[in-house]
């Protein structure tokens, strides 16, 4: 099996789905000739031509609004927003139109489309190339939100997203586009939306996370192991719908859940997970539910390594949970 980086797994998913289904259209800024600024759509323009790989005008609102129109017609558009930070320009279309078309049409119409966007920090991109805006979309009924952390999942989840009957916001952790490589089978397979991945088994503490933070959590878990603390790591992969069953299972097992994400803490997705655990499993808890998250400031340009949760902060939380 070929070992490829995450960005290339995305490229493979798009290419194979476009070959399989001529309803699949890729559109966005610089996705054609340039192959995308992160080269996720490299080679697609050459293979499928300008009618299926569309370099659009610079207009996020229209990119997603137009994708909706295409989806309603019966195509399967995959719209790229160049950076998640620019998705806000299309926010109104996404939350007011795309998310609600099924509901407001009484189920007559739906929006089977995917909006892909690189997200997250770690690339020294400053406050408009680093944000993690997932919570806004998880908060909006009608949308599904997915974040892969491995090349295998990236391909399998993107294929699932393209085939899904509802709109999927697909955030890609750009900081690991090239640095994380993994085995990816050629050809068709899917990873179901809504199912998490147990990255590492442990019995004392549960790290519940997603995206590039999976790797920080793994590193912290290794370190904790040396201190005699056994840490489980759960990669959610899908944030909505999220894998409630797996969360309950790990909380029952360790009693010490820690949620880790890059997005700011206040009203971040960790708050939802914490509430979910508190509502359903409070009697299993042996420590408070802890969140390790980005600070509640805009994303900084300098010192981003201090802003982002890292091994050290996660380890600090693990020790806190254990010594409670």
């Amino acid at each position: 099996m070929a070992v490829i980086p995450l960005a290339q797994a995305i490229n493979q998913a798009l290419r194979e789905e476009m070959r399989r289904d001529d309803r699949v259209i890729v559109m966005g800024e610089d996705v054609g000739r340039r192959g995308g600024v992160f080269l996720c759509t490299e080679g697609l323009y050459e293979e499928f031509g300008p009618d299926r790989v569309i370099d659009t005008p610079l207009a996020e609102s229209a990119i997603v609004g137009v994708a909706l129109g295409m989806a309603i017609y019966g195509l399967r558009p995959v719209a790229e927003i160049q950076f998640a930070d620019f998705i806000y320009g299309g926010f109104d279309q996404i939350v007011s139109n795309i998310a609600k078309i099924r509901y407001r049409s009484g189920g007559q119409f739906s929006a089977p489309l995917v909006i892909r966007a690189p997200y997250g920090g770690g690339v020294k991109g400053g406050l408009h190339h680093s944000q993690s805006p997932e919570a806004y979309f998880i908060h909006t009924a009608g949308l599904k939100v997915v974040i892969p952390s491995t090349p295998y999942d990236a391909k399998g989840l993107l294929i699932s997203a393209i085939r899904d009957e509802d709109p999927v916001i697909f955030f890609e952790p750009k900081r690991i586009y090239r640095s994380v490589k993994g085995e990816v089978p050629e050809g068709d397979y899917t990873v179901p939306i809504g199912v998490s991945r147990l990255v590492r088994e442990g019995s004392d503490v549960s790290l519940i996370t997603y995206g590039a933070m999976v790797y920080e959590c793994e590193a912290a878990a290794e370190k904790a192991e040396k201190e005699g603390i056994s840490v489980e790591v759960l990669d959610l992969r899908s944030l909505l719908p999220f894998d409630g069953e797996a969360i309950i299972k790990t909380v029952r097992k360790t009693g010490r859940p820690i949620i880790v994400h890059e997005a700011p803490k206040i009203c971040g997705f960790g708050a939802e997970i914490a509430a979910f655990i508190a509502e359903r499993e409070i009697l299993s808890l042996q420590s408070p539910i802890i969140r390790v998250a980005g600070y509640d400031t805009p994303f900084p340009l300098v010192h981003e390594h201090l802003y982002l949760p890292n091994e050290r902060r996660i380890l600090d939380a693990i020790r806190k949970a254990i010594s409670f």
Binding site: V37, G89, G125, L301
Partner: protein, 360 residues
């Protein structure tokens, strides 16, 4: 130059060979023109240094302005100190023309303790003192802002005019259209200065609009659009001067399109060979705005090769010295992360700041 005249071609004063349309020459003293020339050269040299520093990993990212100096320096020289600038991220030559010392620009680039933006953003620069709003990275955001500022100045009876800079790509955004519409409706004292450098990263002009010019879009919003040769500094100066004075007289907004070309990559992270031919770039190098203005000055006996050599030497030394100084300054403290979020710090941020200091 009205929109109808646009049909005939972009407004030009200096021809490629440096000869001039005497009838349209703006009233500028020799020292003013030499200052404009100096600003262009300084911008070009600093730009080239920043590209190099980025490649060496000493600064984070840079959006080069090579080829667009006439549009930026020319228009910025048409402003008065009371005017306000709402730039995009490529406008370093505007800052230089506005009198910002390069030491300040470099403090920003190196994010040292004197970075006026406190290390929070990679927008090239911004300063209340020089009346420059920091460029927002999301394309087009500055355009409605400039309109609001202009409306407020008008409400207060002040004479300040707002000028906003943006690229051809930005004209595809709702922000652009909505802002122009507002400006038309409220007769805001604002100048919209579009640098059509023919690319938005890899997307050529034809992907942004089906109209021949950007300038003609002004018609739909009820005011004047001007199409100018963006590589001709005097044409850019004159068109902007007229628009600024018109706005100051209370006669409303103008859209200026400076037709130019981005000679370099989009940013240091871009590779233009993926989307355009080198031959095209070479063709535009022949229209280099700095060479053209120099020919004009030399022809009129205002400048010589010796003057030029001296100027370049002087500028090189200035830049090297300032880079050295900026790099020697202290880095920003870690807890600067928590500065400037609110006017006064709420408890939860104080807590997070404490956590950070405990952990490092």
């Amino acid at each position: 130059m009205s929109i109808i005249e646009c049909a005939m071609g972009a407004f030009q004063i200096i021809s490629l060979d440096g000869s001039a349309d005497e009838e349209h020459l703006p009233e500028l003293s020799t020292s003013q023109m030499l200052k404009m020339y100096r600003d262009m050269v300084l911008a070009r040299r600093l730009d080239s240094w920043l590209m190099r520093l980025q490649r060496m990993g000493r600064v984070a990212i840079h959006a080069p302005s090579e080829g667009q100096e006439a549009a930026m320096v020319g228009s910025a020289h048409a402003l008065e100190t009371e005017d306000w600038v709402f730039p995009s991220y490529r406008e370093m030559p505007v800052y230089i023309a506005r009198g910002v010392p390069i030491s300040e620009l470099l403090n920003r680039q190196f994010s040292n303790e004197e970075d006026p933006l406190h290390g929070h953003d990679m927008a090239v620069y911004g300063s209340r003192r020089y009346q420059i709003i920091p460029a927002p990275v999301p394309v087009g955001m500055q355009i409605p802002m400039a309109v609001g500022f202009a409306m407020a100045a008008k409400y207060r009876g002040e004479k300040a005019v707002a000028i906003t800079y943006f690229g051809d790509g930005a004209t595809s955004k709702g922000d652009f259209h909505e802002a122009l519409n507002f400006a038309g409706v409220f007769k805001a004292p604002v100048v919209f200065f579009c640098q059509n450098n023919q690319y938005a990263i890899s997307c050529p002009y034809s992907r942004q609009t089906a109209t021949k010019t950007i300038a003609e879009k002004a018609v739909a919003y009820g005011f004047e659009g001007v199409w100018v040769d963006g590589n001709d500094i005097l044409a850019c100066y004159s068109a902007t001067k007229r628009a600024i004075e018109k706005a100051r007289r209370g006669e409303g907004p103008t859209l200026i399109e400076a037709f130019t070309y981005r000679l370099g990559p989009h940013t240091t992270a871009d590779d233009p060979s993926r989307y355009r031919e080198q031959a095209e770039v070479e063709k535009w190098r022949e229209k280099d705005p700095i060479a053209r203005f120099k020919r004009f000055l030399v022809r009129r006996g205002l400048w010589s090769e010796e003057d030029d050599a001296k100027l370049y030497e002087e500028i090189e030394e200035d830049i090297k010295r300032e880079i050295e100084q900026a790099e020697r300054k202290q880095p920003l403290r870690p807890d600067v992360i928590f500065a400037d979020v609110y006017g006064s710090e709420p408890w939860h941020l104080a807590e997070e700041r404490d956590e950070l200091s405990r952990l490092i």
